[in-house]
Symmetry: D2
Subunit: 387 residues, 4 copies
């Protein structure tokens, strides 16, 4: 006698950019991974009726709703996937926990440490499976890096973690004042949006931060208001400008609890860098380097290789022996950005069925938020801040 | 009044490696491209009942069949997608054309030139939309290369086309005698399997070949029979060997009709090269270079750049201005192997709805086959062969 | 009537690693550059008679001396080249200035700001030509970067300067306590030795620093004393350890006076990085990137390139249109480390003949020292420090 | 009692581009290598009195001569270095052998196989030390490749040797008809000039060629005569054109005696490629790849590395454990084109003192010539040619 697979009914709150990536994740995970449950894209939820219905159709959901509370309370729904703007994460998660749903929440977990703590307490109290969607942890090359560090390929001690997340989409001073450049809505700029990713990778790969010291900068302090920009008016004459209230770039140094040094930078002002995440980790025995724009590769230097044959190895992370890649295509046939979500969601489905949360949990979301807050405090106070 | 979208019902014959990639293509195309028809994964068809049913479930098809003729004759089916082994392409295509189906056929089109000619005649006579699945044409970087060449970025004359397709999966002499190493089943080795891809890219980007001269080589002439290898028996003692009857590598030179020189090589014996397709095209004004293992990038040299600023540009082909990439993710967020199928299938759906075939058609399939045949004849006769 | 070329007689104080590089510079400069004076390797000077005589022979000098004062006072000598350990720079330079010699001094200029100020005052008072040997300024790719920034290729504003100097020669904890790891002799560790180079490049390419905040770290606090290590005794048993009194790594952030952000790091603990100087500069219009281990290349991104053709250009800096390279070999024939000295010395010879100092002068040496001192103070006080 | 070092007096015939590189080689070898003889740049010889005197001064020679016979016959001279145009190599070498001189001769050894055979016979009969200056063998990365192949790092069998030498200096059709484009003077074009280099590297690294089949092409068949071009007259109106009588490009395939396949190409029509020599060698156990424009690096793939850590290693060939590099600078401090001559001349000096020729000898020069001749014959006859 074989038991039929259970089905997980998903309710997704939010449907914009992350909604596209998450819907794809839910659709694809069961097609490529051997999962212990079927996945049903039950309900997509958003504020505007027409848009959410269009999204439902395009992204492949059964139902559309404009009332997130009813979705969260619906007994037919097993999993709540939160990919709304950050200011609503806390409220939705608290309600979802109250109704016993497994919860996957986009990063950052919430707007501040206090909210994160409440959310973590709620999911712990409700004993529901919880995960923060730090999808870059499941880039195969990053997962391989983690595995290599854990088994000692870099030695017993890490000396340096160096990371940079560079983009250039607002480098033009005439780029308009979109919501991501307004603190009220976005919280912070490059810091919360992209620095958050490399902070999480630092914690994942090296360990917890101990203290930080940083600076934040807004290079372009005023920008064309959005409707004007839309109207094609330039920044030079007769236009109205609005104030940019978030950081354009953040740069900081710090120490991990295990003694490693940290150097991180995130910027939206690096011409030519599109989604350029570069990492380097130096250990007592070897080093690793990674660039997201070549995300199927991992560079590895092994100081124990024989004398005249040492060099950074360019590992193409597409072998069956590598994490996640066996589910995809043959060696040398690369995968892309969206697969990081599929890999993540596959692990989350397994976690839900097993009833046991898998990293990164809301605990990680909280820790990431603490680091973000510490760097921000440091930049404002021009001083070192302990985590 | 708006007309509802028509729906294309797909029947796919074959369900192995290419079946996985094609099913994904059919599923994903309508999710990412704005297509003029809905796509319905109607029926998947294969020889073994149990396997095809498992594939149906895993790959997301509505029905499974073990009788390809009934699928091809089914009036509910609009499109026949042929991804069976090469020796059955011709028969299936002829029947599908007879029943007026639009046809997408995996490469190579057939076993020989005669078959290809019959198939081309059949689809022409039936006036059905036809396409050969040379998916690498729709790698965004390759599509961009085509666009650049056509608008003259490389100048008015091409001097060199140089391509290499290198893998290493049979470099171990103990790798067993799989069907791909047997001429009866596979036709040829590296030549038909991977050389075929770079031949098609040469024709796509540069033009028709005029004459060729090549060599083919089988480095390892005998290999362990498959059941022995499966049983874990080594190649050194007490094992039975079988004869390898296809080429391990092919290397050839030639001329295009437009005067460009060609140099192509395909091998399964290049340790460390996984799916390594490298191209370089040198024109009178500039050059292009490409490596499939970094398929989101295209290298471009422009000799008209100002004097001290010349250099190969490393174009990350993920901008909205690039072919196909607008359908996917933001700049710097790369795509992978499977997307080449999705891009292809999106164009094919448009072609079917418009009733007008789009490149590469069966005409291309035939031309590719003529080049393959000419190289093989050249290698056997040790002489130059005109196409 | 043509005047014969004058001859510059060189006296070089010091003859170790830098002596080898400097001697080569003096020998080669007149062979590859069209200089306004002949160069005569007149006298090499060092403490140990036997060694200095051996060096004289090997490195191609006419005379050897063990008395630096007599060399500096010798009326036959036109130029004093100081490449002794740092603690003797000041005394030698003061004496050389007093005797009216043109002076080329190895970096760092001296042990501290006070010494540098005295030295600058002395050469100014004596009105002699002075230069600090920051040879990396005359890497052709760096000189090209300077030229491009000055003519506006990066736009009218620089946002980021990011630099790292990474080595790994002391990463092994059993590497012995050489003099470079002792503060009394070396002053500082990675900071003064290699951070000094990227500080100078930052000042050269971007401008003066305004404020800094940094950390310094000594990862391995005790090491085998040198004689033991020499005797082949391991670090694990029966050996005597001595205290490391300099930094192994330094990492800091800062601001330039023009508003650009700075992020610098220097370490001797990056396994696999040999002499790995990486720079990236992001301006309002474009970006530059450089890696010393590929010193004949410069990466340049131009945001004004047409839409689908943007990408970092890989400029091979070996064209006649590039700085210094016309003196060397044809395009694509690269040069190496030693050439940075030859290029520097060629410019110095021209400066001496013209009587006009060229950058970098002792003023640069003083400014570099101020930045070094500020970072060190910042690390000790755990606070921001203004320059 | 210690014997003083002997001194080798060099006579160099020819003083143009190669004269510059050779003079530097003679000057630098004793400064960086511990040689068993001193080297004296005794006499430089050329046709035009004024030019050779200028060269003497600039390049550092004691005497200048316009009579090569008197130099070759001069009893004071120990070594004759031949770097004249190719059509005079044979005569000079025969005379030098007759007078018992050690001989270093630029590549190609001579104009044809018959000349090479005469020259080889002459040096053998005279029992003088002889070497052909194939300087690329002593690129440290190439010497390391040789060492690795010999000790079995690539396995016991080589499958592929693939090489390309690409330049672009005549890609402009208005580039004038210089002597290198005239068969009477230059013999051949890309073939003898640059294909010769990769032929020699193939023989050095893999073994002797067995058979070849190639094509040669002249893309631009007429070019402005030189004086017109010099006068700034364009190619389009009112100018006189002359016929190009050498190949612009050569492309060929072949087999080595050990069963490896060969694929070589040399062209002067690859826009953006300056001195772009790329090699790849695939063996049963591993692969090597090299690019001259990054000549301090060697890529190595080892299939015996553990499963998830395989990848091409990027070896920076600047360690003390690497060939020749110990004589130069510390790890990560690269060397350049000219050093290949210095390394070569250092070995030649040792050979002269020991009285025993070292590779590559005139025997290699003869073998290289045989391959060149076979490819040319093959291109003309459109057929395979055995060596």
């Amino acid at each position: 006698m074989t038991m039929p697979k259970p089905t997980l009914n998903i309710g997704m709150i939010g449907y914009n950019f992350m909604g596209k990536a998450h819907s794809n994740g839910w659709r694809q995970a069961p097609k490529f991974f051997d999962l212990p449950a079927d996945v049903n894209l039950h309900t997509i939820c958003g504020r505007t009726k027409k848009s959410v219905e269009a999204a439902r159709k395009r992204l492949g959901w059964q139902n559309a709703s404009t009332d997130w509370k009813s979705v969260v309370q619906d007994p037919a729904i097993d999993v709540i996937d939160v990919c709304t703007p950050n200011d609503s994460h806390c409220e939705i998660v608290l309600e979802a926990a109250r109704h016993g749903k497994a919860i996957l929440c986009e990063k950052p977990l919430a707007l501040n440490v206090a909210e994160c703590e409440k959310m973590l307490a709620a999911v712990k109290k409700a004993k529901v499976v919880h995960m923060i969607c730090q999808n870059y942890r499941r880039i195969p090359a990053i997962a391989l890096a983690k595995k290599m560090i854990e088994r000692g390929d870099l030695g017993d001690r890490i000396y340096h973690f160096r990371a940079r997340y560079a983009q250039d989409w607002i480098a033009d001073p005439n780029f308009p004042l979109v919501w991501r450049l307004q603190a009220k809505i976005a919280g912070s700029g490059a810091h919360g949006d992209i620095d958050a990713h490399i902070i999480d990778l630092g914690r994942y790969l090296v360990g917890e931060f101990k203290e930080v010291c940083g600076l934040m900068e807004t290079f372009i302090k005023e920008r064309p208001l959005l409707d004007q920009a839309a109207a094609g008016l330039g920044a030079k004459a007769g236009k109205k400008l609005g104030k940019v209230t978030v950081d354009d770039a953040v740069s900081w140094i710090g120490r991990f609890k295990n003694g490693a040094l940290a150097n991180l930078e995130a910027t939206r002002f690096a011409r030519g860098r599109k989604n350029h995440i570069t990492l380097e980790i130096n250990g007592s025995k070897g080093s690793l380097a990674f660039n997201f724009e070549d995300m199927n590769r991992l560079q590895f230097f092994d100081s124990t290789d024989s004398g005249d044959r040492q060099g950074f190895r360019d590992i193409i992370v597409t072998e069956d022996t590598h994490p996640y890649t066996g589910a995809w295509w043959p060696p040398g046939h690369i995968i892309g950005y969206e697969h990081t979500f599929v890999n993540t969601f596959a692990d989350f489905v397994k976690a839900v069925v097993s009833g046991k949360s898998t990293e990164p949990t809301f605990q990680d979301g909280l820790q990431n938020e603490k680091v973000l807050a510490a760097v921000e405090k440091s930049a404002k106070s021009r001083s070192w801040v302990k985590i």
